[in-house]
């Protein structure tokens, strides 16, 4: 008798064998892509504007927040609106991944119970869906940028590695909250408050340079802070990202 093709043993410490798990995950990449595509299609299916909502949603959101800023500060300027729109769009890449990721496994129901595949696939495709919802809004950003008369430069290509970083962060959050929500279903109710708090702690409604000196510690405790600051510099002001200053800060260097 030949050796068994596959052996199922009890998990050690509740975890499946990692190497095998990762290779299974890789072999299921086609399924992940198709699953993400179908989820993307489902989300806005049947509404009158259909896929246009992918752009309309963040646009309306930025309009509402701009209204808030104008009322609070009493004046409006172009750079500010540019900053708000750019930051809000990428911020929602992360929060959307958190919200969808948290639900991904618990709402997987029949799929989770009846087919063998690495469960990691579900939060991963949730994050991929969020990325694909974000990408068309980049086009809106470019149009806005031109309309507002903000500067263009080749340094704006730094946006590409930054988007990769944002996506990686969103992916991590989606996986983390997917796990948390399995064992602690209340997480789903807490997440809206969590993301809202994160929004106010991040330089989205204000610019990073406007942070008061007694609140500088926020830069250290919020992982989104450096990312959003660099994003705004690149996308709004067409400057180089100030990553070195954050790396120095991270190691306590002057």
């Amino acid at each position: 008798m030949s050796a068994p093709l596959e052996v199922f043993l009890p998990f050690k410490g509740g975890l499946p064998p990692l190497r095998k798990y990762l290779s299974q995950l890789y072999s299921r990449r086609q399924f992940m892509a198709a699953f993400a595509r179908s989820e993307l299609r489902r989300q806005n299916y049947g509404s009158a504007f259909g896929q246009v909502w992918l752009i309309l949603n963040p646009l309306l959101l930025s309009a509402v927040y701009f209204l808030l800023i104008v009322i609070i500060s009493g004046h409006a300027d172009k750079a500010r609106y540019g900053h708000l729109t750019a930051s809000l769009f990428i911020f929602y890449l992360v929060t959307d991944a958190i919200v969808a990721g948290a639900k991904s496994i618990t709402s997987g129901g029949r799929l989770v119970l009846n087919s063998a595949f690495p469960r990691l696939m579900l939060p991963m495709s949730a994050a991929v869906v969020s990325l694909f919802k974000f990408l068309p809004t980049l086009l809106v950003l470019v149009v806005f940028h031109a309309l507002l008369g903000l500067p263009f430069s080749w340094t704006m290509l730094w946006a590409i590695p930054l988007i990769a970083l944002f996506f990686l962060f969103a992916l991590g959050c989606a996986i983390f909250f997917a796990c948390v929500n399995v064992y602690f279903r209340d997480a789903q109710n807490l997440i809206p408050y969590l993301t809202r708090t994160l929004l106010y702690l991040s330089p989205v409604l204000y610019e990073a340079s406007a942070l008061k000196s007694n609140l500088q510690f926020l830069k250290n405790i919020n992982p989104m802070y450096p990312l959003l600051d660099m994003w705004s510099r690149v996308m709004v002001h067409a400057q180089l990202p100030n990553c070195t200053s954050y790396i120095k800060r991270c190691y306590g260097l002057p």
Partner: protein, 267 residues
Amino acid sequence: MLSASNAHPQKKGDTAVSIHDLSVIYRTTLDKRPTLRNRLLHASRGKKQTRVVHAVSNLSLDIPYGSVLGVVGANGAGKSTLMRTISGILPPTSGRVELFGNVGTLLALGVGFNQEMTGRDNVILGGLAAGLSKSEIESKFDEIVEFAELSEVIDAPMRTYSSGMFSRLAFAVAVSVEPDILIIDEALSTGDAKFKTKSLDRVKELRSHNRALILVSHALATIEEVCNEVIWIHKGKLISRGKPKSVIADYKKFLEVGSSPMIDEDV
């Protein structure tokens, strides 16, 4: 579609699935309402608010190639848990499961289907969920649609399908996988009488020397007709194994009287 050439050629009589001393234990919350207050109260006392369910306990079983194994048992006997463990969906709590071939499962119909997408997209999605590759699905596509008798509506969204049409397509996708070891759990009772016969015929066609079939069903007549061996599970334990006729007769007797000498004996 019904090629006899499997990925891992096997001879009749070779072991397909080998289960050693398998136990699967679930823990479910004991309190009716798992509130934070209850959790905190009991956490401080170090008491675990869980109920332990022995879904499968100390079960050993060998399934050879060329066999069609029927699985019978009352509700909650652990049939589905056993099938999920063999398919790798649930990990064993103790013991081991060895597979000598690739496994295909038909535990529920339409897993991975998306109501908003067309039948065509769902064939691809369902096939990928079942573990086929995209090129494999494309080569089998026409046969799947033809078998489901849905060629006219395949480009309509799935939500416009009747439930019979839904299950027909789901069944057609599932049986197109052609694994070495196929597990079917209560999935034959789909569609109208005509399709039921057709799907049963398909299962009969799938019986071959180099394949092992495991069939879970409450339709005892079907089991008796299709299988060449039957096991009876009760409360996670293997009660008896043997020729379909005799095991099913014992099981029927048990269903009528609620107990049987075999259950009452400490097995």
